[in-house]
């Protein structure tokens, strides 16, 4: 068994009377691609925000990269990368300036940052566009830059919140290539998605229903367990029982 980078036990978060996240427990190990599925309102985003140190849990245990989410959020933030469903680069900065900025605030030394960003720009094939404002680029490119920026400081875990929303199939494919590559380098990938074909690419998948984890296993095991032909069917079976919708 590889090193555990995310560990939760009965993690719960309430908003008033509403229990957004209901005693979830799971573990994610190093280099794993962990799919985090669920219908809208199932509690995915809340759980993710807790793990990123943006939101304090109500009860339960959670450790990310070995740090406690109650007390050591600043340490967590140093060791994670994050890319949200909303586009999260600055539209009125250029590609190069965005990479410099985010690399800079993660404390990458200046010389190293320079090398890294040039290397990244050429790897993404953006040499021509490096000094264009990000706002003028197509969405698919922005998402790729966004992901690369999120892992520029070599975090232990990268959280991806619906990273491929609104992107064409070819770009999605390329995007997943980048995810595999990152995982190969030892970066744990924690990803939420709405695309069930993407769930098949994950090492393990958890499906949240009404704030709790309804199923957690490899895609293959899940298919067998529910006697389904694909993940779509697995998801529909589980989500149909949900009480809260949008």
């Amino acid at each position: 068994m590889a090193e555990t980078v995310i560990h939760t036990e009965n993690l719960t978060r309430k908003f008033g009377n509403f229990t957004a996240v209901d005693a979830i427990s799971f573990e994610v190990s190093k280099g794993e691609i962990f799919g985090f599925l669920g219908a809208n309102g199932a509690g995915k985003t809340t759980a993710m925000r807790i793990l990123c140190g943006l939101l304090a849990p109500t009860s339960g245990v959670a450790k990310v990269a070995g740090y406690d989410v109650y007390t050591e959020t600043e340490n967590i933030k140093k060791h994670i990368g994050y890319m949200s469903q909303k586009f999260s680069l600055y539209n009125n900065l250029t590609v190069r300036e965005n990479i410099h900025f985010f690399g800079g605030i993660y404390g990458i030394p200046k010389r190293e940052l320079k090398e890294k960003s040039e290397e990244l720009i050429s790897r993404l094939g953006l040499t021509q566009e490096a000094d264009k404002l990000v706002g003028s680029l197509p969405l698919g490119w922005k998402q790729k830059i966004s992901f690369s920026t999120a892992i520029l400081h070599e975090p232990k875990i990268v959280f991806l919140d619906e990273p491929t929303g609104g992107v064409d199939p070819i770009t999605r494919r390329q995007f997943w290539d980048m995810i595999y590559e990152a995982a190969h380098r030892g970066i744990t990938v924690f990803v939420t998605t709405h695309y069930m074909d993407e769930a098949e690419y994950c090492d393990r998948v958890s499906i949240m229903v009404d704030g709790a984890i309804a199923a957690l296993d490899t895609p293959e095991e899940l298919r067998n367990q529910f006697e389904a032909k694909d993940m779509d069917e697995v998801f529909l079976r589980l989500a149909r029982g949900a009480k809260r919708g949008e």
Binding site: G53, L54, K78, Y82, K86, S88, Y90, E97, G104, I105
Partner: protein, 373 residues
């Protein structure tokens, strides 16, 4: 320290790339400083008068001539129907009506006393008050002339008199520009500091990029400082620009020292930025932020003594002005500009500004939760 450097770099790049902010910074001082002082001339120079002369005597004629010769009044109408003149007032063509009743001259000479009627459009109370006061004074002068023609007074007045002389210091030519310009400089700094800073932070909330910053190791104070410092610089730029404009357009220079102005501006801006930060913590959209900023700006300016003196306010409002930062700053800038007040003169105000700077920023930081509970 390095993180802050990156944040500042980013902020300045974005500001210089945003034409709206740049236009705001450069055009606001120019437009405000040119428009408002030119408009804010409260001196009532010309009052349109309708004379309803039902007497048509040499005396009524003389009185009319005397009124018009002073320069305060301009003849809007000369007739003999009060109703006609009333209509002119309704339409705004005339401000004041003098009615000289029939037999005015006869009564004055034969019966030792006569009556005149003044009616003023009092929608604008100040103008009405001044107009009737001027007219009454001219009538009293006329009265004295007439009296002197008929009565021989002894050489020495038997009435003891207190002779009053008055002088206005610092502004002998009664220039309203001199009064308004420094006040507007103060308002300018306030707007740049609070409004722009609030808008900027909220714009980042709206775009979602603030989430991205929140998951990075950037600390609360670093983020806030990274946001506020650029606007502090912009605030200092805008007051400098404002002073240049007021010199070019009105040839107004501070009597006191630039040093005093800059020291006060520097500390005051910190407080104002705190207000901007506070507004940004309450607002989720730029539209909300604008509304909040506008709301508070309105209160601040109206209760800041820019238009009406603070001591004329009722007690509760005066108490409010004590916690109104622009009220202090307007007073300070005016004092330094017009009277040449020194830093030492204004020490109590300086203390208050430091208190504001600390107070508002403390409130804002407490409210700004990087980690929403």
């Amino acid at each position: 320290m390095n993180t802050l450097k990156y944040l500042l770099q980013k902020e300045f790049k974005q500001i210089f790339r945003n034409p709206t902010i740049l236009r705001l910074i450069f055009m606001m001082p120019v437009i405000q400083l040119i428009l408002i002082p030119l408009a804010a001339d409260y001196e009532i120079k010309q009052i349109n008068i309708s004379v309803v002369d039902q007497d048509h005597s040499p005396y009524s004629n003389r009185l009319t001539q005397k009124l018009l010769s002073t320069g305060y009044f301009q003849l809007a109408e000369y007739g003999n129907s009060y109703q006609e003149s009333l209509k002119a007032v309704g339409e705004g063509d005339s401000d004041i009506i003098l009615t000289i009743p029939p037999d005015f001259e006869k009564q004055l000479i034969k019966e030792d006393g006569a009556k005149l009627h003044l009616a003023a459009d009092a929608v604008n109370g100040i103008k009405a008050g001044l107009g009737t006061a001027y007219a009454s004074q001219i009538i009293a002068d006329f009265n004295r002339e007439v009296r002197e023609e008929w009565v021989q007074f002894p050489r020495f007045s038997p009435l003891p008199l207190v002779e009053i002389t008055s002088a206005g210091w610092y502004n002998p030519h009664i220039s309203y520009y001199l009064f308004m310009v420094p006040g507007i400089l103060a308002i300018l700094v306030t707007m740049v500091g609070s409004f722009l800073a609030a808008l900027n932070i909220v714009a980042e909330k709206e775009a979602g990029t603030i989430e991205q910053i929140n998951v990075t190791p950037v600390k609360k104070w670093q983020f806030i400082l990274g946001k506020l410092l650029p606007f502090w610089v912009l605030g200092m730029v805008s007051i400098t620009l404002g002073m240049v404009v007021s010199f070019i357009v009105y040839s107004i220079l501070p009597v006191g020292s630039f040093f005093t102005i800059y020291v006060f501006s520097a500390v005051y801006l910190l407080g104002v930025l705190g207000i901007g930060l506070l507004v940004s913590t309450f607002a989720d959209t730029q539209q909300q932020a604008t509304l909040f900023a506008f709301f508070f700006m309105m209160i601040f300016i109206l209760l800041g003594g820019l238009y009406t003196p603070i001591e004329s306010m009722p007690n509760w409002a005066q108490w409010l002005t004590k916690i109104n930062p622009p009220a202090y700053f307007i007073e300070v800038i005016r004092a330094v500009y017009i009277k040449g007040s020194t830093f030492k003169d204004l020490l109590p105000d300086f203390g208050m500004m430091i208190a504001f700077a600390i107070g508002f920023n403390w409130l804002a930081v407490r409210n700004y939760r990087k980690r929403s509970a």
